[in-house]
């Protein structure tokens, strides 16, 4: 039964980023949140502590980050849609379990409200310094999905998308928010209940579960068709233990590489569905800005001004940061004279990816910023220099 309070009244609401994300989670059907307060993600647990019991869900403040992510995994194992929210230091603690979750192929959503680092850093400043960590967030090799919203509306919408991805691909899905976005108040346009319900992928038991082996590949096409996640407490749960390495046929395999390949391929082979991107004035651009999250907002103004000056520049925006959309980026920067990557970090994790894709044939110019995000003029200056 769906609680009446699960959906906010359709229409415009003024919300803080962290609240928008919490509401997105509730709308997506999240019924379990395990968290530990950490600046700047604290509003998520505060908001959900009030809202989740209203819709019959559970919000637990656990003893530490390790416990929160494990409780989330436990809840997901018994069929609840579950999520946690934390910041960089919390992510470091949770790494062990994220790896375990990827191995068990248990869906959960992980919101990382990134803050400045390393160590404790300036805790209230934004810094996209966990982008690289999210990609390799645990021991072993596995593939995660990471989404980077840039405003409160997207924090709401992408949280729903994140839950859908988690259910569909059975892997940890990251929402890469940041300290600034988390505390930003903006208008969020909430869709109607029907619209939301149409979008959502529900956790359901497949038919005739008893004794049936579920294959991970469609035998006719050879494509990955991932069965819905097992639920403990029902018949749809493997007999021996859940984390037994298995091949695409769903049967235990003694060859680790078969399982390893499946864990990664099941996601990377679905790039068409997973990879969300946006473009802005890109069609005839000589200079391409590749970016994600907050710096994209500043880039809009920079591009508009540069266009008025006659510089052909466009934006290629990554909404799905991981897995990195090699093919799409390749097409976007194909005719570019130069690529500018404004990133809210020093090392330029995504810039390196772009360099990899362009095989260093096109110059990639980084605009690093730490603990404060790009003013449009910062980007404009670089555009002008490159255009000379």
């Amino acid at each position: 039964m769906i609680s009446e309070k699960r959906f906010l009244q359709a229409g415009k609401h003024l919300m803080m980023g962290n609240e928008a994300m919490s509401e997105g989670a509730i709308a997506a059907g999240c019924t379990f949140f395990g968290g530990y307060p950490i600046t700047p993600s604290t509003e998520v647990i505060e908001h959900l502590a009030k809202r989740l019991p209203e819709v019959g869900g559970v919000c637990m403040q656990m003893e530490d980050e390790l416990a929160s992510i494990n409780a989330v995994m436990g809840a997901s194992l018994v069929g609840a849609k579950a999520m946690t929210a934390t910041s960089g230091p919390g992510l470091a603690l949770m790494a062990e379990t994220i790896s375990m979750g990827a191995n068990l192929e248990i869906p959960f959503v992980f919101c990382d409200v990134q803050r400045n680092g390393p160590g404790t850093g300036y805790v209230t400043e934004p810094h996209h310094n966990d982008i690289g960590f999210a990609r390799f967030s645990g021991n072993g090799e596995f593939q995660i999905i990471a989404l980077a919203p840039m405003n409160c509306q997207e924090l709401y919408d992408l949280t729903i998308t994140a839950f859908n991805f988690a259910e569909k691909y059975r892997c940890p899905v990251f929402l890469m928010s940041d300290a600034y976005l988390g505390h930003l108040h903006e208008v969020v346009d909430i869709p109607t209940r029907e619209e939301i319900l149409k979008k959502i992928i529900k956790r359901e038991l497949p038919a005739n579960t008893k004794g049936r082996v579920f294959s991970y590949k469609d035998p006719s096409t050879g494509e990955y068709v991932i069965p819905s996640p097992p639920i403990m407490g029902t018949e749809y749960c493997p007999g021996l233990f859940l984390h037994q390495p298995h091949g695409p046929d769903g049967l235990p395999t003694p060859k680790p590489i078969v399982f390893q390949e499946m864990l990664i391929e099941k996601i990377t082979s679905k790039m068409d569905e997973i990879s969300l991107t946006e473009t802005y004035k890109l069609d005839d651009a000589d200079i391409v800005i590749v970016s994600y999250g907050l710096p994209v907002r500043s880039s809009y103004r920079a591009v508009d001004i540069a266009r008025e000056e006659g510089i052909k520049v466009g934006i290629f925006r990554l909404i799905t940061v991981w897995p990195f959309p090699d093919e799409k980026v390749k097409v976007a920067v194909k005719d570019a004279k130069a690529v500018i990557v404004p990133e809210l970090n020093y090392t330029g994790v995504i810039a390196e990816q772009v360099e990899r894709v362009t095989k260093l044939e096109t110059p990639v110019i980084k605009i690093p910023k730490v603990a404060e995000f790009h003013h449009p003029d910062d980007i404009l200056k670089v555009i002008r220099e490159v255009a000379k």
Partner: protein, 199 residues
Amino acid sequence: MARYEIRIAGFGGQGVITLSKMITMASSLYEGLAATQTEAYSAAARGGKCWAEVVVDKDQDVKIIDYPKALQPYDFLIILSEESASDVKPNFLKKSDTTGYLIWDPSTIKKFKSAKRIKKGLSIPVQKLAVERFGNIVFGNSILFGAFTMLAGIFSEESALETIRNFVPPNTLDTNLEAFELGKQEAIEFLKKLEEGQE
């Protein structure tokens, strides 16, 4: 693009954040403009130096505020405590016909050096008025909100009144509306004087 950058500074608990939220709500929800609000976080919001920033774009076509931070010079500056007043300089404010106003509270700020040099500075003893007229310090917010609505002209009075109805507890609504009216009148008088002075 018609960007307005507003900064409110004061002590935690004075209603800095509430006022900023009211401004954002009036401009975004009721006026339909793109607006963002950010605020001081953590310890600052609980009694230390507290600030909040609102960025509004009056252009109806703008869907998203591209840079949600307010930078100096501001279009509007509201200063409520002596500590925040100490570092304000006249060049903090934009030199423009329609904007560049300062609102400050002489009942909490004893010494405000640069106030004399700021022409468009409206001083309303908000806290004193709130206590004397309405019996509670919390009504100061509505006085300021009224004054801001008139000075800024970003959103209409209807939007402002709608925000107050949405924001305050129903049993204090009438008093808040009175306080709003008081602030409005102060601003109208101030604008009149300013005009006379210029002529």
